[in-house]
């Protein structure tokens, strides 16, 4: 089921389109930065980072309200191996100096292979071993309700990650308690380390399961910035919302996928150069 498109007049459509185009360009720049990070480190999950680059861009450049010094929105990257996507959004957004692009996974770097909030304050929760982030997001949302703070806690999960039992403990708890101000996004790229999710251990039928757990469920094209943004804005204010974002692992752009969607393979120098050429052309000719 796709999220309903907004029925609006031409002016609103134009504004919406312009906004989506702005985010699309930022997302392309994020892809360039995250690929440079991984290429220079000689290590990192390029496919997983690329698959959620659009989701992370919509969050960083459109949704997350993080006033300096204040208790703004929270972002939990439960699929911590996609850390380069978040780091890249921070670089493109000007939160992180571009000079740190070459420090991914280096000794003493703030840009650990998986996000570590004790080293980088722009990380809200340390993650890496899968399945744990949603529980922390639930705790943070509960705390905000207790404090009477109106803000949102976002949690990005992988689809393979949803095989972890703790994810369902957290879905069960938040649904049963109708925890407000909580948005989970599943980067549903259908692929995990050893192969297709559908072969390793299918999640089907995912939306029905999540609805049965008491969540408001939306499904979108996870590379369509307008759809993502609309679904996030239409979230249920009084109950937890989960957005199943259909994505492609390794996606560079509308007609290009890196390394056939491999989970953790590294692009060769030639593949990296070709990807950079493609992304730079997108920036020149794209929206």
């Amino acid at each position: 089921m796709r999220a309903e498109r907004t029925v609006a007049g031409p002016a609103v459509d134009l504004a919406r389109r312009a906004d989506a185009d702005r985010i699309a360009r930022l997302a392309t720049r994020c892809r360039l930065v995250l690929l440079e990070m991984i290429h220079r480190a000689g290590s990192g999950h390029a496919g997983s980072s690329l698959s959620c680059a659009d989701i992370v861009s919509v969050l960083r450049f459109d949704q997350l309200d993080r006033p300096p010094g204040g208790p703004g929105d929270v972002f939990v990257l439960s699929k911590g191996h996609a850390a380069p996507a978040w780091y890249a959004a921070l670089v493109v957004g000007g939160d992180l100096p571009a000079g740190e692009v070459g420090t991914l996974r280096a000794l003493d770097s703030r840009l650990q292979g998986h996000p570590d909030r004790t080293r980088l304050g722009l990380v809200d929760v340390s993650t890496g071993a899968l399945g744990q982030g949603l529980s922390v997001a639930v705790g943070r949302a509960l705390a905000r309700r207790l404090h009477g703070r109106d803000s949102t806690v976002y949690c990005l999960l992988g689809d393979g990650e949803c095989q972890e039992g703790q994810v369902w403990e957290a879905f069960l708890y938040a649904g049963a308690r109708r925890v407000p101000g909580l948005v989970a996004i599943i980067d549903h790229n259908g692929s995990q380390s050893d192969g297709a999710v559908a072969d390793i251990l299918p999640l089907y039928p995912l939306p029905e399961k999540l609805r049965a757990f008491g969540w408001h469920v939306a499904e979108v094209d996870g590379h369509d910035h307008g759809e993502l943004r609309d679904a996030l804005r239409r979230r249920d204010r009084d109950a937890p919302t989960v957005i199943i974002a259909h994505t492609r692992k390794g996606r560079l752009g509308p007609d290009r996928v890196l390394l056939d969607g491999s989970h953790s393979d590294l692009p060769s120098a030639a593949e990296y150069a070709a990807a950079v050429d493609y992304l730079e052309t997108l920036l020149e000719t794209g929206p």
């Binding site: 340390s126 744990q132 529980s135 705390a143 069960l172 708890y173």
Partner: protein
């Protein structure tokens, strides 16, 4: 991660008397009472429960502060994550379950509490063999070994009511991750009036000679009783309560160094617990005392607690006999 500092004393709690003058109680009982008291003083104290509010003594807290009590059901991994989230938002969550179950979720503790440096108090009750007839699937016998691998998590195990109250005062205001290890069996008051708990400082309960006995939690009063029995034979073991870890290195060096024999008595597996911790310090002493351990060398088993403690020589009689034999083996 910075060094753990001594906590700020709570005015409401530290003035409590040692025990209440009544029958001995378990440290989980004292914990439940102190929890309500500190919650009245500090709004940031919350509880995350895993369907064991009666057994862990958090039920009175739930009744008085229902809005600050989060029931996660039989799902400890999620409970630990929820607590970490609450801690990151400024609350001081106490997550209570049997120590065996709670620390069983070690990957979750490592990441969302340890590495994430979330100020959660993990409360593990039913430490050691004392759960008795329920057997080794419920006994907290390897919790210390796991928790001591985390460099920013302090371990607290009170030996009596006075120490429990003071640790709770410390934990209410300190904001670092912690593991509070509690006993099921009633314990007599071990400390003299006026005792003040200080993190890392091991109080000396019997100052003697020849052998220094280091104990923790439920084994403390048993070691004291063993020492008092040996007094009739002219032996006077030193007895030390190591109630928090990491322990002050200089204090252990000073205490152990003045004796020719060290004995560690612990209601935990022999590997990875207090003995390992102290051995790392004692091994560095120039005139190293002999070192021995009384602990649980296998998985444990079901049985009446008193039978189990007798079997593993962790009762007063077993400890006293062991000390006497040690001193006979290595005369002065």
């Amino acid at each position: 991660m910075t060094e753990r500092s001594e906590g700020v004393e709570s005015t409401a709690v530290t003035g409590r008397p040692c025990g209440d003058g009544g029958a001995p109680k378990s440290t989980r009982d004292w914990f439940g009472a102190a929890l309500v008291e500190i919650a009245r003083e500090y709004d940031h104290v919350v509880v995350v429960n895993c369907d064991l509010a009666k057994a862990t003594r958090t039920l009175p807290f739930k009744e008085e502060f229902p809005d600050r009590f989060f029931e996660c059901g039989i799902a400890e991994a999620n409970a630990i994550g929820v607590a970490a989230g609450l801690a990151q938002e400024g609350f001081r969550p106490f997550v209570a379950s049997f120590g065996h179950f709670l620390t069983g979720k070690f990957l979750e503790i490592f990441q969302t509490v340890g590495l994430n440096d979330a100020g959660v108090v993990l409360v593990g009750t039913h430490a050691g063999l004392a759960i008795g007839r329920d057997g080794p699937t419920q006994m907290g016998l390897r919790d210390l070994a796991l928790m001591r691998t985390l460099p920013n998590v302090g371990v607290f195990q009170p030996a009596d009511g006075a120490e429990t109250w003071q640790m709770m005062a410390h934990l209410a205001t300190d904001r670092r991750p912690a593991y509070l290890r509690l006993c099921r069996q009633p314990l007599p008051e071990a400390h003299a009036d006026g005792y003040r708990f200080r993190f890392g400082v091991p109080p000396v309960l019997r100052a003697g000679a020849d052998v220094a006995v280091f104990a923790m939690g439920g084994t403390v009063p048993v070691a004291v009783e063993a020492a008092d029995r040996l007094a009739a034979d002219g032996l006077a073991p030193t007895v030390v309560n190591v109630s928090s870890l990491p322990v002050d290195r200089a204090a252990v060096e000073r205490l152990a160094g003045g004796h020719r024999q060290v004995l560690v008595v612990e209601d935990h597996y022999a590997v990875g617990g207090l003995a390992d911790e102290l051995a790392r310090i004692v091994l560095g002493l120039p005139d190293r005392p002999r070192f021995d351990v009384l602990a649980v060398p296998d998985y444990g088993q079901a049985g009446p607690p008193e039978d189990l403690y007798r079997r593993y020589r962790l009762d007063a009689e077993g400890i006293a006999a062991h000390i006497a034999a040690l001193l006979q083996e290595a005369p002065a």
